[in-house]
Amino acid sequence: MLILECPYCGVKGEETEFAGGGEAHLKRFGPESSDDDFHAYLFKRENPKGVHLERWRHTNGCGKWFHAARNTVTLEVYGTYSAQTTEPPKDIKDKISAKVPGWSWREFS
């Protein structure tokens, strides 16, 4: 079971109070983009064994979307952070590095 802390209302709740929203930090490709970029935007997803960055929503709570950095193997949550950003904050990246040296996820490491 995951324990997530919503960065908007501060509730530390268990998984069933939230809803997963898929991969974080997707770059959108729409009209005028190449077929490859559009295809990747729609269908190509990370499915890592280890460090993962995701979107979550506090559905049975304040209703806000946020980001979570967690480990799909250990279920450890490195931290949750604002939805209004395009990359994980430095303190969370540092926390991951301390536990998983040399980690990388898409363009982040």
């Binding site: 908007y8 501060g10 709740g13 049975n60 709570g61």
Partner: protein, 189 residues
Amino acid sequence: MSNAISALQGAVYQGYVEVREMGLVGMITLRGDLSSAKMKKAVKEACGVDLPGQREIAVSGDKGAAWMSPDELLLMVPYEGVADALAVVEKALSGEHFLAVNVSDARAVFQLKGKAAREIIAKLCPVDMTPGAFEPGMIRRTRMAQIAAAFWMQDADTIRVVCFRSVAEYAFNLLKDAAEPGGETGLFA
């Protein structure tokens, strides 16, 4: 105009904790900038309480205001007073970006009364109900079995639960089941 009635019309169940549907309660969803001076004024004038902080609820008599999210409050007033309260809010917030809607008929409110009221919530919600961890003055939005709900404590032995009207009967059945004599856990005694 037809007579407004609440979902369960004041149904009561006497278990080891009393479960009561509270009838019609006036409720206004108010969204906007909670840090603005006009918002503070609107809450004070409509409900007679100070704007509550994060996850807090302020109650005064039959009125109150609860913090629902960083940009949302729930105002509670007597059912007949909603139109007046809305007018007060709209006047106080004029010129500002906000949303105020009467949601009274979209909600059901329950009350749990008894020494073991905390137990009932602890059985149904993934929330730490240990005295100290949850106390009067706090509000918690969460999951109650399979539905969204929010609750707060009126006092040490009284908890109010609010959920959507469409699931009122489900919520009442859940609370009744949890309060059935023989189901005492003595967890917080």
